[in-house]
Amino acid sequence: MKPSWWYRFLFFIFLTVVSVMAVVPTLFNFDENSKFPIKSKMSLGLDLQGGLYMIMGIDFNKVYKDEVISYARKIEYSLNDIGVKSKLGDVDVTTPDDPAHSVVLESAADLDKAKARIRDYFPSILRLTKEEGTKLTYGLSKVIKDQIQSQSVTKSIEVIRNRIDEFGVTEPEIVSQGKDRIVVALPGVKDIERAKDLIGKTAKLEFRIVNDQVAPTQISAWLEKAKTAGVVFKKGDRWSQHVSKINEFLKSDLPAGYEIAFERKVNKATNETTLEVPMLVEDQAKLTGDELADARVQIDQQRQEPYVSLEFKSLGSKLFEEITGANVGKRLAVILDGNVYTAPNIQQKIGGGRAQITLGQGNFNQLMQQASDIALVLRAGALPVQLDFQEQRTVGPSLGSDSISAARLGGMIGTIAVFLFALFYYRFSGAIAILTLLCNVLFILAGLVGLGATLTLPGIAGIALTVGMAIDGNIIIYERIREEIRRGISNYKAVEAGFGHAFWTIVDANITTALAGLCLLNFGTGPVRGFAVTLLLGIVATVYTCYFLSGLLFELYMQKTEGQDLSI
């Protein structure tokens, strides 16, 4: 054999060994502790192992509105710092994608001073959209809106990941798609309802002072009154809407500036409400989650008690100091999406932007659970972005395994038919074709492991179809060889001509298929992308096995028979 043959042969052996190594852990389902050098296994797509796939959209108009309100508050504070008294006007959402908020100055004399202050303090963030007397209306700048967009996406991804990580789902995929969409794929997740709940939850965190001067009996009386008037919670309603109905109804009874909120816990398994404590809280949040930098569970080493530590951003620290200073002895409710999660007592004025929520005595594990729930809520709440679902696909595990076994059966039958045909029609050359096809499938599987791609149901379809389509390469070569033999030239020459003429045909044919595959990869989503990856891998593997590998084998074959015999 020529030296170049040996090099190519060694390359083939190398490829095969590497591929077998890559595929073995998947085929024999090695666990992580196996001694085998390669650990990575092919991951199955959602459609095969079950799970949840969702696409969430971000409503930027809502985000802009929240931002503009939050900036208005900051304006008020920054004006106050230089001695300009002002009060908040209202939000103007006549153009939903460009909301504005007004600030009314107490004295017209401060107008220029205030405008200069805002210009200097919020450069390239706010723009003055309207000026009517002492009423200044500000909107967001283009720059800050772009920034808010990208931040909203990355923060939402972070928050969703956080929530999912903290509830322990293996191999979640949380990525952005386009400018305003987030794809969440949770393969193998068992409790789909809970996962959906977790992800879909709008994280809007607020800190509000609790009014404990009104007796609980009075609150109960009010609620009873609402109930008898027909404001009742029906199954299937959204709780938050029910609460706002109650407040609407009781508007005239409640003390001004306060509304009713509930500390409510629902048992996820039974859907029963286990706790429903009403309380009277301020109707405006003094401080919201976006002023919060971080929250985490820590353990008091001396007393062996878990607590939640909070850290505020700069403006948040200042606000928190003011709020706690003015309300020592009162309770501060931590409210997520209108739901009170905890309402700790304010023991003293807290400066420096750091605070603790202690949980009192009790079973350590229970307290720990409680603390981590609160920390989770606080952290999730640091991002007030509303996500609305756009697409949601859930697959039960049984469907996936049924699909796999059916597809495997179909694939086997098809493959055996192709193999039998090859043997029958092309005899020994058919056996070579079968060998190259087997290597083809092996390389595709190894490629999937190597790329860390997931095998989806359409992906299996792609592999099954590749077997039928890849033999096309062999057929092109063999038919050409037969043609050449009919012309009466020697076996050697015929094989040479067959391979020589077939190369560009095979390449052209496969490149056009690859173009279709690339378009699919670019525009497809989820399982369809999995198919595109398999198709593209199949094309690379086909060109190698059909042309180079069969060439290698034919050279050996011709050498062994010295060109005398050609079974084709």
Partner: protein, 317 residues
């Protein structure tokens, strides 16, 4: 040496162009009409919820419909999928982003309660909001459009721009007829179908390119023969390859169609039809189009330059 197609075959493929063009035009137009009037789009494209539900025992479809009504769902549809003995159904309900989750939950709940003795099992739920549906429609369409453009450019560059329209006409022909078959048999057209159609495009153009390759080779070898002769000769020479490849690919495709399970039926329905139509179009549509274009150019040249003779396309290698 075993042979299905005799090697000395000399069929006049190009000569059948009028008949084939008529038949194909009829099929394509019929497919368009069918596609635009009665195509069953899946929730991927229309938006809505699709719930795949399986029962341990046989149940009546009417009862499922009734359950839907009692869940307060209007305009839902129920179809049986897979083998009848599998008792598996697809329930489709319309809705918008805001309502779908609630509707779907209500359906699941009332299914669970009214079929609790029948071993009801929710196997799969797809909820696609109208916004996402529009997005998916757009990307599906773009994927198809771009692949056609890319293939046209590639064929144009590798062969000659005289060759490209034939390939594209054949592809549009194939895609149309596959779509028409979906509409005719009332099979749901969804994302999987798009993937399958792109595979068909790949397969069909593969077929076309192989014949083109041979036409080019013959045109370079046998200067002096007409384009019609080149095309007929190339098609005859590659015919055994064409038939064999159709056979093997159909083995795979039909085996999956029959045994591969309901989840993948949709995909292989498209590929099975596409492979057949694609092969036909490569032989009878794509290559003869080269001749038509060649005649068109030749007659135009004649008119313009009074140039005599039938120019033979000898594309650059």
């Amino acid at each position: 040496m075993m042979q299905i197609i005799p090697s000395n075959l000399n069929i006049d493929f190009v000569g059948k162009i009028k008949l084939c063009a008529t038949v194909s035009a009829f099929l394509v137009i019929a497919s368009w009409i069918l596609s635009f009037t009665r195509m069953q789009y899946g929730v991927d494209f229309t938006g809505g919820a699709e719930i795949q539900v399986k029962f341990a025992k046989a149940v009546e479809v009417a009862k499922i419909r009734k359950t839907l009504e009692s869940a307060g769902v209007a305009g839902g549809s129920v179809i049986s999928i897979g083998e009848a003995s599998e008792n598996e159904y697809l329930v489709r309900v319309p809705g918008t982003e805001d309502t779908l989750n609630k509707i779907e939950a209500a359906v699941e709940q009332s299914m669970a309660s009214s079929f609790k003795d029948d071993g009801v099992q929710i196997r799969k739920v797809d909820i696609v909001g109208p916004k996402a549906g529009a997005q998916l429609r757009l990307s599906g369409f773009l994927a198809l459009a771009w692949s056609l453009i890319a293939i046209m450019v590639y064929v144009g560059l590798r062969f000659d721009f005289k060759y490209a329209p034939g390939a594209i006409i054949a592809l549009i022909h194939d895609v149309s007829i596959v779509c028409g078959a979906y509409a005719l048999f009332g099979i749901e057209f969804n994302l999987q179908t798009i993937a399958a159609i792109l595979t068909v495009i790949g397969y069909s153009v593969n077929d076309t390119v192989i014949v083109y390759d041979r036409i080019r080779e013959n045109a370079q070898k046998n200067i002096g023969e007409t384009v019609t002769q080149h095309i007929n000769k190339a098609t005859n020479e590659t015919l055994s390859r064409t038939v064999l490849t159709v056979a093997t690919t159909l083995f795979s495709s039909i085996a999956m169609l029959i045994f591969g399970g309901p989840a993948i039926f949709n995909f292989f329905f498209a590929t099975t039809i596409g492979i057949l139509v694609g092969t036909y179009s490569s032989i009878y549509i794509a290559s003869p189009t080269i001749m038509l274009l060649d005649e068109f150019y030749a007659s135009r040249d004649k008119k313009n330059q009074k140039d005599e003779g039938h120019k033979v396309a000898v594309p650059a290698k």
